[in-house]
C-alpha cells in the first residue's frame, strides 16, 4: 500500500540529513574567530508577537555589547529566532529543528510561558541553558538544571500591584483584563493577592480583544464605583476601553501589570486619556529599576547603538522591563562562559550563579566588558545588571524588588516607590 512507502521515504530523508549533520552536533565546537548562536525561543508572530519584539529589543543590545568587548573567548555571538507562534504545537518542531541544525548553539532566551511545559524538558535534556520567561508558578520550585529565570513569576507582579494599592489606601478594586493568554496569565496573581490582603473586588471584567466598542463593560465598571482599576490587556483593547471610560466620566487611578509598561500599551492609553490624565492616573509595577545605574546606562547606550536593527520604535526599548531582563540574562550567560573558559553548555551552565550572586571578595561589575576584564585579572565577579541585583536561588530563580512607576510624557519611568521581594513573598498566595 502506498501509505507505507511515505513514512519510509521520510525516514530515509531524515537519515541522509542526519548523516550530513553528524559532523556538527549541538554540543558545540570551539574554534577561535567563529561564532556562537543564541536562539530566541519566543512568539515572533501570532497574537503574542509583542513578546518576540520585547525579547529582540533586549537581545540585540546584549549581543552588541558582548561582541564589542571582543566576544566570548574569541567568538562572536549571533542571534537566531525560533518562532513558537505562542503555542506548544508549533514550538516543538521549531525547537527540535533548531537543535538539529544549529551546531554552535550555546544558550536560549526563552521559552515563553505558553510553550514552556513542552519545551523546557526538551532543552534541558539537550543540555542548553535557557534564560526563561515562563511565568508559571510551577517553576518557583524548578529542578531542571539548565533552566534559569530572571523574571518574577506572574503571581509576584500581581502581588506587588496589590501591595501598592493597599499602601495607597485603596480598598475597592475593579479588575479589567483581556481574555488573551498573556493577560489571563497575570490575572490570578492579582485576584488571589487581593483576597489575601483583604481588598474588595467590586467588578471583574474580561475584555475580548479588538472589539469596536466596550461601552457596556465600561458602564459596569463605572457602576461598581471602584477606587482603582487593575488591568492588563493588549494595547488596542486598552486604548478603546480607557478612552471610552474617560469619555463617559469614569476615570479612576489605574494600576497596570508589568506588561502594561511597554511602548504600545503606554502609547495607546496615553492617546486615549490625553497626556495630563495619563501622567496623573497611571501606575505600573515593573522589575527594572528606574534609576540610571551604570548598568542601565550601558544598556541604553547599547540600544542606541543598534537602533537600526531594533523593531520600531527603537526608543521604546530603552525602558522596557522585559528587554532589560533579556539583556541581563544574556550578559550573565556570556560572563559564565568567560569565567569557566568554555563555550560548552554542560561546562559553563553551573558557573552562571558564580558570576551573578553576591559573595565575599567579589568585585561588582556593571557591564560585560568590565566583567571580562576583571575575570582576566583573576578576580571573582558579581554582575549587577540593568535590572539590579541578580541572586539565583537553588531553584534557579532570581527575582528582586519591584518598583511602582508612573510614566513621563516621553514614556520614561518615574519612580514612585519600591515593593521589596520580601514583602511580596510574605503574602500567602497559592500558585497561579
Amino acid at each position: 500500500m502506498r501509505l507505507r512507502k511515505i513514512p519510509a521515504a521520510v525516514a530515509a530523508c531524515g537519515l541522509a540529513a542526519s548523516a550530513m549533520a553528524t559532523a556538527a552536533t549541538a554540543e558545540g565546537r570551539h574554534a577561535s574567530g567563529g561564532s556562537l548562536t543564541v536562539a530566541g525561543v519566543i512568539a515572533l508572530t501570532g497574537s503574542s508577537d509583542f513578546e518576540g519584539q520585547n525579547q529582540v529589543g533586549g537581545l540585540y543590545p546584549a549581543l552588541y555589547a558582548i561582541n564589542k568587548a571582543g566576544g566570548v573567548l574569541g567568538d562572536k555571538l549571533v542571534f537566531k529566532g525560533v518562532d513558537t507562534r505562542g503555542d506548544p504545537a508549533d514550538a516543538l518542531p521549531a525547537v527540535q529543528q533548531m537543535l538539529a541544525t544549529t551546531s554552535n548553539l550555546v544558550a536560549v532566551a526563552g521559552p515563553d510561558t505558553s510553550s514552556a511545559p513542552t519545551i523546557v524538558p526538551v532543552l534541558n535534556s539537550a543540555k542548553i541553558p535557557m534564560m526563561a520567561v515562563a511565568g508559571e508558578s510551577v517553576y518557583d520550585r524548578n529542578t531542571a538544571p539548565y533552566f534559569w529565570r530572571l523574571f518574577p513569576p506572574d503571581a509576584a507582579n500581581g502581588t506587588a500591584m496589590t501591595l501598592w494599592a493597599k499602601r495607597k489606601g485603596y480598598t475597592k478594586v475593579a479588575a479589567v483584563f483581556g481574555t488573551d493568554s498573556g493577560s489571563q496569565g497575570d490575572k490570578p496573581g492579582v485576584i488571589q493577592s487581593m483576597k489575601a490582603l483583604h481588598l474588595t473586588l467590586v467588578a471583574n471584567v474580561d475584555l475580548t480583544p479588538s472589539q469596536p466598542t466596550y461601552l457596556s463593560s465600561v458602564r459596569k465598571v463605572i457602576a461598581s464605583h471602584p477606587q482603582v482599576i487593575m488591568t492588563e490587556s493588549d494595547a488596542t483593547t486598552a486604548g478603546t476601553f480607557f478612552g471610552e471610560l474617560k469619555q463617559l466620566g469614569g476615570l479612576v487611578p489605574i494600576v497596570g501589570t508589568e506588561a502594561t509598561f511597554t511602548s504600545p500599551w503606554l502609547t495607546a492609553v496615553k492617546g486615549a486619556l490625553g497626556t495630563s490624565d495619563f501622567l496623573k492616573d497611571y501606575t505600573g509595577l515593573i522589575t527594572a529599576p528606574s534609576k540610571t545605574t551604570p548598568a542601565v546606562k550601558a544598556y541604553q547606550q547599547a540600544v542606541t547603538a543598534v537602533k537600526g536593527q531594533e523593531p520600531k520604535p527603537w526608543q521604546s526599548y530603552l525602558s522596557n522591563p522585559f528587554s532589560i531582563t533579556y539583556y541581563d540574562g544574556m550578559v550573565s550567560v556570556a560572563l559564565a562562559m568567560v569565567a569557566s573558559k568554555s563555550t560548552k553548555p554542560s561546562v559553563f551552565n553551573n558557573a552562571i550563579p558564580s558570576v551573578t550572586n553576591p559573595g565575599k571578595g567579589k568585585m561588582v561589575v556593571y557591564t560585560f566588558a568590565q566583567g571580562k576584564a576583571a575575570l582576566a585579572a583573576g578576580k571573582k565577579i558579581q554582575y549587577v545588571g540593568a535590572t539590579g541585583l541578580i541572586d539565583f536561588d537553588r531553584w534557579h530563580n532570581s527575582f528582586g524588588n519591584q518598583e511602582a512607576v508612573k510614566s513621563a510624557a516621553s514614556l520614561k519611568p518615574i519612580s514612585l516607590g519600591v515593593v521589596t521581594a520580601q514583602q511580596i513573598e510574605a503574602v500567602p498566595v497559592k500558585g497561579a
Partner: protein, 332 residues
C-alpha cells in the same frame, strides 16, 4: 544525530495526525460535499477531553478545567474519539441542511469562532486562553530511551493512520460509499431513488468527527499541552489546502497533500536563512499558503491525484469538483 532523530520523529507524529485530519475532512467534503470549515473544533474537543480525563482533578489555582478523572490513556483516546463524534452529531443535526454550500461553509467556520470565544471566555471549562498543560505521556514507564519512546509513539500514530485509511477506503468502496457519491453528484436524483440524504450526510459528518477527535487525542498526548492558540481557524485551511493540492475525493491524494503542505512546505522555511525582521518569514509563509490555495483553485481544482472516477467525467467535459446540482441543471 540524536537531535535530527527527535525532529523527524515529531514530524512523523504530526504527519500522522494531519493524515487523520485530512481523511476526516476528505470523507466529509470529497465524498459527501460537506464543507467542514470548522474541522479544527472537532480535533480540539478530542484533544481537550483526552487531556482533562488523563489529568487529576483540577486544583483550581494552577489551572481550571472540568472532569479530571485520571483515566488510562487508551480510555482517553476512546473518549476523545467519542467526543468528536458526539459534538459532530450535535453540530450536524443543527446545521446540516439543504442549504447552499457557501452558507454551509460559513456556518461551520462561524461555529469554530464561537467555540474559540466560549473556551476563552468561560475559564473553568478548559482554562481559557492559557490552555491545559502538564498532560502526562502514555506508557511513560516503559523501559525505552527517550529517543526510542519518540519513535514508538510515531509508530503508534501511524498505526492508527493505517487503520483509519483502511476504514475509509473500505467505506467508500462499499454500497454506502456509492450512495454517498450519488448524493454528492446528483442529489435530487439520489433522493428520488429513495436514499435518505439527510441521514447519509449526518453519518458521514459523525464518522469524520470521530476521526478528528481521535487525531486530537493523539496529538495532545504527545505534546502535553493544548491551548486556543493551537486551534485557530487557519489550521483548518492548512488541511483543506493539503487536500486541494493532493487530490480531492481520494485518500491517496489526501496523504500526498499532507506530506507536501504541512510537512514539507511549512517546515522548509525553517531551513532558509532568516530574511528581514524576526517573524517576517512566518507572515510570508501564510501569504504563500493563501497563494497556493488560490493557485490550486485556479489551475487544478481537482488536485494532483485525481479521483479515479473523474477520468470519465473529465472526458465528457464536466467539472471535477463536486458542483452544485442546481447549477448543473440550469442552462449555462
Amino acid at each position: 544525530m540524536t537531535a535530527w532523530s527527535y525532529y523527524i520523529a515529531t514530524l512523523t507524529v504530526y504527519f500522522g495526525v494531519d493524515v487523520l485530519a485530512a481523511l476526516s475532512v476528505n470523507l466529509q467534503f470529497g465524498f459527501a460535499g460537506v464543507v467542514n470549515f470548522g474541522f479544527i473544533v472537532f480535533q480540539s474537543v478530542g484533544a481537550y477531553i483526552a487531556a482533562v480525563v488523563v489529568l487529576g482533578p483540577s486544583s483550581g489555582t494552577f489551572q481550571q478545567y472540568v472532569f479530571g478523572a485520571r483515566l488510562p490513556f487508551g480510555v482517553a483516546l476512546l473518549l476523545a474519539t467519542a467526543a468528536g463524534a458526539v459534538l459532530s452529531l450535535a453540530v450536524g443535526l443543527f446545521s446540516l441542511r439543504n442549504i447552499r454550500s457557501d452558507y454551509q461553509a460559513a456556518i461551520l467556520l462561524i461555529i469554530s469562532l464561537i467555540a474559540t470565544q466560549v473556551v476563552q471566555g468561560y475559564v473553568p471549562l478548559f482554562n481559557g486562553s492559557n490552555g491545559i498543560t502538564g498532560v502526562p505521556r502514555p506508557f511513560g514507564s516503559l523501559p525505552l530511551s527517550l529517543q526510542g519512546y519518540e519513535w514508538a509513539y510515531a509508530g503508534w500514530v501511524l498505526l492508527f493512520c493505517a487503520v483509519a485509511y483502511a476504514l475509509v477506503t473500505w467505506l467508500s468502496r462499499s454500497p454506502w460509499g456509492r450512495a454517498l457519491r450519488a448524493m454528492r453528484d446528483q442529489e435530487d436524483a439520489a433522493a428520488a431513488l429513495g436514499l435518505n440524504v439527510t441521514a447519509l450526510r449526518l453519518q458521514v459528518f459523525v464518522i469524520g468527527g470521530a476521526i478528528a477527535g481521535l487525531s486530537g487525542g493523539l496529538l495532545v498526548e504527545y505534546i502535553g499541552a493544548w491551548s486556543p492558540d493551537a486551534w485557530g481557524y487557519a489550521e483548518t485551511f492548512v488541511i483543506f489546502t493539503s487536500i486541494f493540492v493532493g487530490g480531492v475525493g481520494n485518500y491517496r491524494g489526501a496523504v500526498l497533500g499532507v506530506l507536501l503542505v504541512p510537512i514539507v512546505f511549512l517546515e522548509l522555511p525553517r531551513f532558509l536563512p532568516q530574511v528581514g525582521y524576526p517573524g517576517l518569514m512566518d507572515s510570508m509563509e501564510w501569504i504563500a499558503i493563501g497563494a497556493i490555495w488560490m493557485l490550486c483553485l485556479y489551475v487544478r481544482p481537482q488536485g494532483i491525484l485525481p479521483e479515479r472516477r473523474n477520468r470519465a467525467r473529465r472526458a465528457s467535459g464536466k467539472a471535477a469538483i463536486p458542483a452544485e446540482p442546481a447549477e448543473q441543471m440550469e442552462p449555462a
